[in-house]
Symmetry: C2
Subunit: 351 residues, 2 copies
DNA sequence: CATTGGCACTCGGTGGAATGAAGCGCTGAC
DNA sequence: GTCAGCGCTTCATTCCACCGAGTGCCAATG
């Protein structure tokens, strides 16, 4: 895959070819290209160029006498160098924005993002749930369930609530637990979860002897409550949209695809690859490393809160999706989701 | 749809026809029937009988010279009168039983039930989540989140935890909340949720003037915490199994089907119809009231805890599913799920 | 009267041939 | 380098003939 210098004409042709193929879904012949490319050349000339492009592996003829179809490499070059991103339509932006209602919970916002992606792009949407490392812990409480089981309640951002059942070695009475919670709240509330965790660990290691037994137990308990992080997960929306695309209509493949969405593990793997990138990323066909993604592409963008990337969202669809439309939508959705999550951040501090 | 008296021979023929169609998925001709029915009659005779059956609307010929295919009415008669349920295979029962691991949470058990149904029957499984009216409330706690928002924590069966955020008219301080929780726990813990609710309402109405302000507030709070029941929901598993059946392979229908599973509302409606029946129930084709169920059947069975029906589970598949295999599986799964939920019921009382 | 064998008829599916359209490669001219 | 033209390849569609499965009807039979 050495990168190849193409003259302007070849680039124009490749671009119009791909655009046409994305629109029509059928091999594009030289005559069509001659008409639509805007260049003033004859089909014969175009045929020559196409032969070159085929030699470079950018296009491919399904059979001797059919038009050309872009290859994965062709798409790659296209999105990297030839694609003109449509300026995001103002109405669309507003339409998306309106789906993120102001008072919504994190879960609602994520759901909304998934459904926006899927409905606006008519593809399958997916949202990597945010790591909650950097969300602020506003309160922690313990509740004795039974002899050795304690329910830890984490209130995050003053809104989200998480429960965890802890199995303990000895029995704690409710007043004890109350005290520990008070201690932890006094010291740690308002910090982000991973900071809290770091502090707890640090305190446990270094200043152990300076603390009385209660605080020590409190720290231990706190660490255990925070430590067992939920297994990160991914949210998928509108996978049935993919039934609309003929090239995926092979029942067998389709089943594989839908099951992958169900399992989610592989989707997760793809999204995890993107979490570092700070802008829109595109995987074409097998670039994702999954064979059954042969005819699929993935467009993702990370979203961030407080300048820190907390998750990724994106869409999956046929390789011939209209990137010019999809890319800005994914981009905007990521931004707006980030913004929505952000604006909701000022938790009313309690106590 | 007057019920029709069929002589033994006609019944035998209808049965073998349907059995054959379920196996092969293709119209059944008179010769095949003559061979497989076990009756010692010629194809010609069978043709006469088939003409009668067709007159009664039990079978139908897709075109002049094809074999016969059962109609919805035919299936109905078949499952009502002709079907011989296979005795549940002991190994299968054990296989299913083993999927309900002993210590699992309610959610896990329900998931397991869905996945068992889908994998064993190779159809789409669904489980109506149990109404939690009759599960015992073992503990209730309140946690002040911010000025007017209180988190109510319901511990059910000593295991399950439910959170609800209540928006209140005035500010309550944590000690106040603690008192109210104590009061409620003392009076109500261990009762089933709907009993609790009834008690709360009764007390509020009748003995209002005998209670001090605190208890009154406590009762109000308790009522609000319990009152907003989660919207009941349904769990769907393995809907991609349906992609295996040719008769549903029409992409368009398939999409409708999968989207229905996604939406779940219509599935819910079907399941709700079954919640009263105390045994396996079967809907064939349009009997469910949904046109797009044309070629689908639904087999359901309620499951119960403590003798009280708390939910329904079942499968959806093509009309020509093998009822003799599916029915006992659905039946057993329902029983085993009930048993598993039951054995887990003895909540360790706290406090 | 129920049963049966026979016969003509009707469809749907299959396979091959014919036709047409789309499009390419190549060549030779400008 | 560009282009028109020619011949070739391939796929898709159509048409037709044919086969097989299966029916409906009828007349014969016990």
């Amino acid at each position: 895959m050495q990168d190849i210098q193409l003259d302007t004409r070849a680039r124009t042709l490749l671009r119009t070819l791909i655009e046409s193929y994305i629109r029509e879904g059928q091999p594009v012949g030289s005559r069509t290209l001659a008409r639509t490319s805007g260049l003033n050349v004859s089909p014969a000339t175009i045929r020559n160029v196409m032969a070159d492009l085929e030699g470079m592996g950018l296009v491919h003829a399904p059979h001797t006498s059919a038009g050309r179809v872009p290859t994965a490499a062709g798409y790659r070059l296209f999105v990297d160098a030839l694609l003109e991103i449509r300026a995001p339509n103002r109405e669309q932006v507003e339409a998306i924005e309106s789906r993120f209602s102001l008072g919504a919970s994190t879960q609602d916002l994520l759901d909304a993002a998934g459904s926006v992606l899927s409905s606006v792009t008519r593809l399958a949407g997916m949202v990597r749930l945010p790591r909650n490392r950097q969300v602020a812990l506003s309160q922690i409480e313990f509740l004795r369930l039974s002899e050795r089981r304690v329910l830890a309640i984490l209130v995050i951002d003053g809104k989200e609530v998480q429960n965890r059942v802890l199995e303990l070695e000895r029995d704690y009475l409710q007043p004890e637990l109350q005290n520990m919670a008070n201690y932890l709240n006094a010291h740690l509330a308002g910090q982000s979860l991973h900071v809290v965790r770091g502090q707890l660990l640090a305190e446990m290691r270094s200043v152990r002897r300076d603390l009385d037994a209660m605080m020590l137990a409190a720290i231990d308990l706190g660490e255990r409550a925070i430590g067992e992080d939920d297994p990160d997960d991914v949210l998928v929306a509108g996978e049935t949209q993919l039934l609309n695309y003929d090239e995926l209509a092979d029942i067998h493949r389709l089943r594989q695809l839908l099951e992958a969405f169900h399992e989610k593990r592989e989707i997760l793997a793809i999204l995890d690859q993107c979490i570092r990138a700070d802008r829109v990323q595109i995987f074409i066909g097998r670039e994702s490393g999954l064979e059954w993604f042969e005819h699929c592409s993935v467009v993702t963008a990370p979203y961030s809160v407080d300048g820190e990337i907390v998750g990724v969202l994106g869409v999956v669809g046929p390789t011939r999706m209209s990137y010019d439309r999809v890319i800005p939508i994914v981009d905007i959705t990521a931004r707006l989701l980030g913004a929505a999550l952000n604006s909701r951040g000022e938790a009313p501090k309690t106590r």
